[in-house]
């Protein structure tokens, strides 16, 4: 058994470096970006967070914005898992593992984003349960660490087990993974809810201290996540021989459509609440949507985001457009971009403006900071590509345990 597993790992290692020119070009390209990001990060490590655009006034920036967005992406895997495992939807069952792998990549990126945001990355171990000093259950951030690491574990276990079982040619034992799948369903919703609670719990910041943040997070996550998968799965289908049915894509498109509408509805609710009876607590919203005391850096961004999300909604809803695949791709791309702006910089940065003492200081990311972000995204892409590169041959049966292959060859089926 253990010997088989070690051989599996060794073969996985070999397979990682086995690929055609396209694979090598893509991976080298990503590696270069990762190195650029790492170089920028080393600069930040050397000179401190002072080289970012963050200040005492706006003390979180692009890092936490990306973190928030990516937690949503990771949570969205649940939108494949529920139909596949609860309702036994066949077309989605084929792609559910690709969605879970995406969740793994997204969570790793989340953890990286948290880590680059720390002033003292050398003290990361203080955050570890047991060896560190954990302020649990009081601190929402400690909850977030628990749920993120837990979700990572769950998905690594589920994907790892399913892939290995496939490699061995065995039928996966339901008892080993199905309970975890169901835990992961609740866990997925919880990671994003806890991330929302991270903001909601801050009573000193009225823009965040609103219950609507949680449903908005879920709504936007279930738009951006499946939208991301919709595009990614087509790319996978294009470059590999893995069969992803149009049925699965159609289902994803439906999910994106509904979630996008829910998200836009919630945005509308928030705008109404903030501006119909505008109070001192609406200052951050005013800064975001209209500008405050002559500062309006985010105004064009948020309107652009709402505009492209509306365009996407129109594409999804109007029948002649809705049937065309390329247009659906564009719509997905638009809604992902829109949600990134709205939920990332839009939500995180404007919560800091004005400060609790009414000061308006704007935030603009520096070059280094942006490069670190791009580097982490590239690392996530690298990780996901690598996992897909391994998973596709296993799932399609081209990468199998030796005895399994021999057995399969001997018995014609």
């Amino acid at each position: 058994m253990i010997r088989d597993y070690i051989i599996f790992l060794w073969r996985v290692y070999r397979l990682s470096f086995y690929g055609n020119k396209k694979y090598y070009t893509w991976m080298t390209f990503l590696t270069l970006i990762v190195f650029t990001g790492a170089y920028s990060y080393v600069n930040q490590f050397t000179h401190g967070l002072a080289i970012t655009g963050m200040t005492n006034q706006v003390s979180w920036g692009l890092y936490i914005a990306n973190f928030t967005f990516l937690v949503g992406l990771a949570a969205a895997a649940v939108m494949l898992v529920i139909p596949a495992y609860v309702y036994h939807n066949k077309p989605l069952h084929d792609v559910v593992i690709l969605g879970e792998l995406l969740a793994i990549a997204a969570i790793v990126m989340c953890l990286l984003f948290v880590n680059v945001d720390l002033g003292r990355p050398d003290r990361f171990w203080h955050l570890m349960p047991v060896i560190g000093k954990f302020n649990f259950p009081v601190s929402m951030l400690s909850w977030d660490v628990v749920v993120l690491i837990g979700y990572l574990m769950l998905n690594v276990h589920i994907c790892g087990y399913l892939l290995y079982a496939n490699y061995l040619g065995k039928k996966p034992t339901p008892l080993i993974y199905i309970p975890f799948v169901f835990i992961a369903i609740f866990w997925a919703v919880s990671i994003h809810t806890v991330t929302a609670f991270l903001y909601i719990s801050l009573s000193g910041r009225p823009f965040w201290n609103a219950a609507i943040v949680a449903p908005r997070f879920i709504g936007s996550a279930f738009t951006a996540g499946p939208g991301f998968m919709f595009i990614t799965f087509q790319i996978i289908r294009h470059y590999t021989n893995y069969k992803i049915s149009d049925e699965a894509l159609r289902l994803l498109r439906q999910i994106v459509t509904i979630s996008l509408l829910v998200n836009l509805f919630l945005v509308g609710c928030e705008v109404f609440k903030e501006f119909y009876a505008e109070s001192a607590h609406s200052s951050s919203a005013r800064y975001l949507f209209f500008g405050l005391h002559g500062h309006n850096m985010l105004v064009p961004w948020i309107w652009f985001a709402i505009f492209i999300e509306s365009i996407a909604a129109l594409i999804f809803l109007v029948p002649p457009f809705a049937r065309k695949m390329p247009l659906a791709n564009i719509a997905c791309f638009l809604s992902i971009t829109g949600i990134w702006i709205e939920k990332g910089p839009g939500m995180v940065v404007s919560g800091f403006v004005p400060t609790p003492l009414g000061e308006v200081v704007e935030y603009f990311p520096t070059l280094y900071e942006s490069l670190v972000c791009i580097g982490i995204w590239a690392f996530g892409a690298l990780l996901y590509s690598w996992m897909i590169h391994l998973a596709i041959p296993i799932l399609s049966g081209r990468f199998r345990h030796k005895q399994t292959r021999q057995a399969l060859q001997q018995t014609p089926c």
Binding site: T55, Q57, V361
Partner: protein, 188 residues
């Protein structure tokens, strides 16, 4: 300045009679020079212009003519009297003892006890002051561990012009965005 006193009257008290020396403090060049105000409470914002003795001019009592009459009221000419309704000298100064204050019954209040004079009108403030709520306190909050010093009325307020003076403020904080922008420019 408002509080200039003609030179002929500037005959200082002997050492033990002098109240703590007042002067309008200049801003320290850096607040971090090694004698910060709070370390040795040196007070305050006024030159103690009352370093003369009234009896140098007013020989017998305050109602009599000054000794040197060539400058009638000259000594008081540049003073600003804005003490509300309280504009009569003898309300506070003891007519018979030029160097002391007068109580409401005409008895003497020693010059170094201005609190006993001021409290006659400013009862509420006096009560606050006694409770430690009006005026600065220096030293120790815990008087078992060290001395506590309460500042008296005329160490902050000019009795003739009691409004607290306007001060030059210390520099404002650095605006982080402007600061970053300047730094970048500097690097270029």
């Amino acid at each position: 300045m408002l509080y200039v006193w003609p030179s002929y009257c500037q005959e200082p008290y002997t050492e033990h009679e002098i109240l703590p020396a007042f002067k309008i403090l200049d801003l320290p060049k850096t607040w971090s020079d090694k004698t910060p105000v709070y370390k040795e409470p040196k007070l305050l914002f006024y030159t103690q212009e009352f370093t003369y003795k009234c009896s140098k001019c007013h020989v017998k009592d305050l109602t009599s003519k000054p000794k040197k009459s060539h400058l009638p009221f000259g000594a008081h000419k540049d003073m600003l009297f804005t003490h509300g309704l309280n504009l009569r000298c003898m309300n506070c100064h003891n007519p018979e003892h030029p160097d002391a204050f007068t109580d409401y019954d005409g008895s003497v209040i020693a010059r170094d006890k201005p609190v006993f004079l001021c409290r006659n009108c400013h009862g509420v403030i006096y009560r606050d002051w006694r409770a430690g709520v009006h005026g600065r306190i220096n030293g120790y909050w815990n008087n078992k561990l060290g001395p506590q010093k309460k500042i008296e009325c005329n160490q902050c307020h000019n009795p003739h012009h009691p409004k607290f003076p306007d001060l030059k403020p210390m520099p404002p904080p650095v605006n982080p965005v402007a600061h970053k922008y300047e730094k970048d420019k500097h690097h270029e």
